[in-house]
């Protein structure tokens, strides 16, 4: 028991590591926010394009989506990070991470938004077009507002997954929360920072876990 407290909940270590973890948390939050934004926009964009029904584009989108839902995200991180130098572009780690998360998240969000759009009865579009609304007007004033209700539960669930995935940036040495925790663990020879990082994630993400469950129950078909 004492060993547990000394090694996992060591107050002295907590105090010494706090600044490092705070820096890491900031990076994690920035990364999460930016990547989530881009991924949602990318997914939305692709889903809307897909609803146009142009076969050639749809095939491309399907390939993209299938590919990046099948490829493990960690592999994607490495591919993005290690290939840029060969093109002579030096992409900073942060943006490599954003790119990887956007590509991966975008694929999942596309599927979610597509399902949402397709769930809206065709009659809605027919009525809108019959009234003279253009494709975009229909999409943004009629279809998407209704699709939001359908889309909300899986979208929050996916957002949660994306935030958890930011941790993978640690393998390309981005100083996000977990990397900093590992750093502190190494230099202080005490795993308390790891436990702290875990607890911080817990505090950050547990409400989202609960929210997802609530939304799924609320909007159950």
């Amino acid at each position: 028991m004492e060993s547990l407290i000394y090694n996992f909940f060591n107050v002295e270590v907590m105090i010494r590591a706090r600044y490092l973890l705070w820096l890491g948390l900031q990076v994690t939050l920035k990364l999460a926010f930016v990547s989530l934004l881009f991924a949602v926009l990318a997914g939305l964009f692709l889903a809307v394009i897909r609803s146009l029904g142009i076969r050639f584009l749809n095939v491309l989108i399907i390939i993209y989506v299938d590919l990046f839902r099948a490829l493990p995200t960690i592999v994607l991180f490495m591919l993005v990070y290690f290939t840029w130098p060969y093109f002579g572009i030096s992409l900073p780690r942060y943006w490599s991470a954003v790119v990887a998360l956007t590509i991966n998240g975008g694929a999942y969000f596309e599927e979610i938004f597509r399902a949402g759009i397709e769930s809206i009865d065709e009659g809605q579009t027919e009525a809108a077009r019959a009234l003279g609304l253009s494709f975009t007007q229909n999409m943004f004033s009629v279809i998407l507002p209704q699709a939001i209700r359908v889309v909300l539960p899986p979208a929050t669930s996916n957002a949660l997954e994306l935030i958890k995935t930011t941790v993978l940036a640690s393998v390309i040495a981005l100083p996000e929360l977990m990397k900093q925790a590992q750093q502190a663990h190494g230099s202080l020879a005490n795993p308390t920072p790891l436990i702290m990082a875990a607890l911080i994630f817990l505090v950050l993400l547990w409400p989202l876990v609960r929210l997802t469950g609530y939304l799924e129950r609320r909007f159950a078909k």
Binding site: A70, L71, P72, I74, I195, L202
Partner: protein, 231 residues
């Protein structure tokens, strides 16, 4: 930079062939971890779900319902904390309190408990969604509580649980490559090692190809199952 150079670097056939046996060995390890994690995690999740349903609905006993609390904690924590963090804690932190687990099994343990947490929630939700009348009919015929669960409730719950469960199982399988971070000689680790050795990223792309070949059919399969069961 022309196409030939591009190909030399990223899709070098010679390197691909040389590294293939090594990579396939890594793939085997990945599949082993995945198979163990999926089967054990699935079973553990189902067991936990039945336990929780029994605890939550033992109407009269407040004590039993309180026993549910540690399980709630288990399930919520493992679903909220990123898998990589859980993995690192299990492999690097536990030794400090005298629990040392070899990497392979640390990885398996991590994914078993993570999957069990997600599976528990899915099973529990579907079991609780089954109409009470089903249990009443079974009990009124003389079936015991466990018999009612096994023969009437769980078979019905299973059908509803399958789509979300399969997609979660695929997600966990993809996470298995995280094991490379703690040094398990899986496909990704071998690919990175080969990449450093030959100073050429082709092995990484080969690994990506192998992963895609492995997962694409699984993703398609789960979409098919979802469609079929929606009828």
């Amino acid at each position: 930079m022309n196409f030939r150079d591009l190909f030399y670097y990223f899709f070098n056939f010679k390197f691909f062939i040389i590294t293939l046996p090594n990579l396939l060995g890594g793939l085997l390890v990945t599949v082993e971890i995945a198979a163990l994690s999926l089967s054990l995690g699935f079973v553990l999740g189902l067991v936990l779900a039945v336990i929780r349903v029994t605890l939550r609905h033992s109407g009269s006993s407040r004590f039993l319902r309180i026993l549910d609390l540690p399980l709630v904690l288990y399930v919520d924590v493992l679903r909220a904390v990123p898998p990589l963090v859980t993995l690192v804690v299990i492999y690097y932190a536990l030794p400090f309190i005298n629990i040392t687990i070899p990497r392979f099994w640390a990885a398996v343990l991590t994914f078993v408990v993570i999957l069990s947490a997600f599976a528990e929630e899915i099973f529990r939700a579907t079991i609780e969604a089954i109409d009470r009348g089903q249990v009443e009919a079974a009990r009124s015929l003389g079936l015991s509580y466990l018999q009612s669960m096994a023969c009437v409730v769980i078979p019905q719950a299973f059908k509803i649980a399958l789509p979300p469960l399969t997609s979660r199982m695929i997600a966990v399988t993809k996470d298995v490559s995280l094991a490379s971070v703690i040094g398990v000689a899986d496909l990704l680790k071998k690919a990175r090692a080969a990449q450093s050795l030959y100073a050429n990223p082709t092995p990484l792309f080969s690994a990506a190809l192998l992963f895609t070949l492995l997962f694409l059919p699984l993703v398609r399969l789960s979409m098919y199952i979802e469609k079929k069961l929606a009828e």
